[in-house]
């Protein structure tokens, strides 16, 4: 296969998909997290400010899920087909949650009745939590491997996706996004709401620290293939060290009330978690629990060299463009949220 800078195209595409999902986790992570902590805010005014803090940008953030999914479909169609048909029921529930979340944000402000707003508040917050949890649940299942046969068809039962490890990854993802989202909301608010949110930030950070600790122990003890590469290459130990330091830096910046740095640190934590996963899984994308010969890898599951070449060109042109105008949009809505007549 053709290479660029000594790395083959399929591996480049593996990195592109990794970058898309990392971007998605950092960006949609904070608006999902903001949704997940929404019900902890009690006042109507507070909830409106929290909603409008993500209002103009959540849709752009969610695009990274569509792009990441499209990139997986394009680059590794076999993986896309196997994973999506294996998780039929959870993916449909996930879609319903995505739909409810989108319409809750849009519909909530359209009527002034208290019951109407409460109903959409609950729908918004619960669907945000479900999405964050489901993302972790699917990730957890992919990490431990799926019962796929020679053709990549799933042979397990419908409810196999509910297992302790995946539930723990789901809980960790939810806690991580809640912390990330709460920090974001603190940056966008002031006065009493700000004070209220700083308490939520402390609680969610503690929750995340507990879940990540449990998840790390569980992984080290029971899922050896997720630490083998770091074990074999001791210089890679700096990655988990950096992650621990970044988590420590979140708590440090929270106590200094430097929330912008706390937000940067939690973004770094998300990136490093996904880097560890990418390093440990490579070259596998999906591990078969039936026979290692059926593993879907960067080599046996990728699209053709020609197709990958075209897509890498598309990505090389498109991604900088997206980065430029995304920055412009974020810059437009910088600073604390002020409600006006066009707000939600």
């Amino acid at each position: 296969m053709a290479t660029f800078l000594g790395i083959d195209y399929a591996t480049w595409w593996y990195l592109v998909i990794g970058a898309c999902f990392t971007g998605y986790a950092i960006l949609d992570g904070f608006d999902l997290g903001a949704g997940a902590v929404h019900l902890f805010l009690k006042k109507e005014e507070s909830r409106r400010i929290a909603l409008n803090a993500i209002g103009p940008i959540w849709d752009g953030n969610e695009v990274w899920l569509v792009i990441g999914g499209g990139a997986l479909f394009a680059g590794f169609p076999k993986v896309y087909a196997s994973v999506f048909s294996a998780f039929y029921i959870p993916f449909y529930l996930f879609l319903v949650a995505l739909i409810f979340r989108a319409i809750s944000i849009e519909f909530r402000s359209k009527e002034p009745m208290i019951w109407w707003r409460k109903m959409w508040d609950i729908s918004y917050s619960v669907s945000s939590m479900l999405i964050a949890f489901a993302l972790g649940l699917v990730l957890g299942n992919v990490l431990i491997g799926l019962a796929i046969d020679r053709e990549g068809n799933y042979t397990g039962s419908t409810w196999d996706f509910v297992n302790p490890y995946s539930l723990l990854v789901g809980a960790t993802t939810l806690a991580l996004f809640m912390m990330h989202g709460a920090i974001y909301l603190v940056m966008k608010t002031e006065k009493r709401l700000y004070t209220r949110l700083t308490i939520i930030v402390k609680n969610t950070t503690i929750t995340f620290a507990i879940t990540i600790l449990l998840l790390s122990f569980y992984t080290l003890l029971y899922v050896p293939h997720l630490s083998h590469r770091i074990k074999e290459n001791s210089w890679l130990f700096f990655v988990p060290v950096a992650m621990v330091l970044a988590i420590a830096n979140i708590t440090r910046n929270i106590s200094r009330q430097k929330y912008r740095y706390a937000f940067l640190s939690s973004s770094v934590v998300i990136s490093l978690l996904l880097i560890i996963i990418a390093v440990e899984l490579y070259p596998n994308l999906v591990i078969s629990t039936i026979d290692p010969a059926y593993d879907l890898t960067v080599r046996n599951a990728s699209s053709s060299e020609k197709s990958l070449g075209v897509m890498l060109t598309v990505a090389a042109i498109g991604v900088p463009l997206v980065a430029i105008y995304t920055t412009f949009v974020f810059w437009t809505f910088k600073g604390k949220v002020k409600l006006d007549e066009m707000s939600y």
């Binding site: 006042k43 109507e44 005014e45 209002g55 103009p56 940008i57 849709d59 752009g60 695009v63 899920l65 569509v66 792009i67 999914g69 499209g70 990139a71 479909f73 394009a74 680059g75 169609p77 896309y80 087909a81 994973v83 999506f84 048909s85 039929y88 029921i89 449909y92 879609l95 319903v96 739909i99 409810f100 989108a102 319409i103 849009e106 402000s109 359209k110 009527e111 002034p112 068809n153 006065k191 009493r192 699209s303 053709s304 020609k306 197709s307 075209v310 897509m311 598309v314 990505a315 498109g318 463009l321 997206v322 105008y325 949009v329 437009t332 809505f333 006006d340 007549e341 066009m342 707000s343």
Partner: protein, 461 residues
Amino acid sequence: MDVEILSRIQFAFTISFHYIYPPLSIGLGLNMVLMEGMFLKTGNPLFEKQTRFFTKIFALIFGVGVATGIVMEFEFGTNWATYSKYVGDVFGSALAAEGIFAFALESGFLGILLFGWNKVSPKVHFFSTIMVTLGSMFSAIWIVVANSWQQTPAGYHIVGQGLEARAEITDFWAMVFNPSSVERVIHVWIGAFLAGSFLVMSIAAYYIIKGRHLEFAKRSFVIGMSVGLLSAYAQLFSGHKAADVVADYQPAKLAAMEGHFDSSSRADMYLFGYINTRDEKTHGVAIPGGLSFLTHGDFNAPVKGLKAFKPEDRPGSLNIVFQSYHIMIAVGIAMIVLTTWAFILYRRKKLFEKKWLMHVFMWSVLLPQIGNQVGWYTAETGRQPWVVYGLLRTSDALSASVKASQVVFSLILFTLVYALLFILFLYLLNKKIQHGPEGLAEEMHSPHLEEIAENFEKHRL
């Protein structure tokens, strides 16, 4: 019912529901660009009011469109895994390009369009409106290119055999500019312009009937009518071009569209009718040799008929193809007649006095919606039994691991969710229309909110 028919019903249902919204976004976007452009040019605040009002409507439509759009991408993987593996190499690059070039563009600038009125200058806001509209038009390009590749595959070769067979791309530009893509993209765009402009006219007509916001309504109607008139005529030519491509590349589909069976005879063009599938005859009112003339320029030229294809290679539901196609044409002609009539009356300054015509226009919002839906039914049911024409059969494209019970579950789930969504959509759309363009600034300040705001002030630290 088996997994195949259930999965087909589910895909048809979810994409039909979704396709109510994107054409409205594209068409309404174009109308908003015109309105905001007029505002920048003339400084007349009426145009700003128009832009703001239709932006509110746009936000609602766009929101439902986004919420229902991601479903199909997932369905490729969940229900059509073999299809995904087969086309991923070819189809994926179009989908990836859509995400990066189109979807990211529209969603990024949408924030400024909706919430940026007080944050950016009018020119930057206008630029954002254009970018959102362009982004939604780019989306249409890539999606229709991918679908056109399924109709008229090009720029690929087949690798592997049996279960392992899949298409691999050999020439990206040949794939993008496959024989049907340009004609079909244009056809879809114009269909979207019609959807948007008929919505503008419908809302305006409603206000005129009720005697509300008259100045606003008349100006809006004229903008919608201008876009609608041009689009309705353009669609006639675009439709003819699209049918030519079908005649050249998908003869079985063309034969099904007109219920033509015998290859040796001239082909008639039906105004209306039905296909008797048992004795393979079509009954109805027809222009003798009409199809022969349109495809070959000769009323007596023979056209390849359905009997030239093995029964397993013919579209399964001939009457759906035939009726969808004829409804589409009827709707297209109705839109030409209506917009032309309105234009003539407008020139005579009598348009807004004809209350009954305003009633017709109020309901005519359904015409482009029907036309867009049945147009796609023609294209997609006419392609059967293939999912990729001549290469992959729909029955071979399913997910091996998915059971009928799972599809029943998701189908019922989505029927319920979409029914709820549609009721809410209509309710909120009606509410926005009833509220009207006046006092958008006061909208958010309900008494309840004022009270909360006061309490908030009192408890401030």
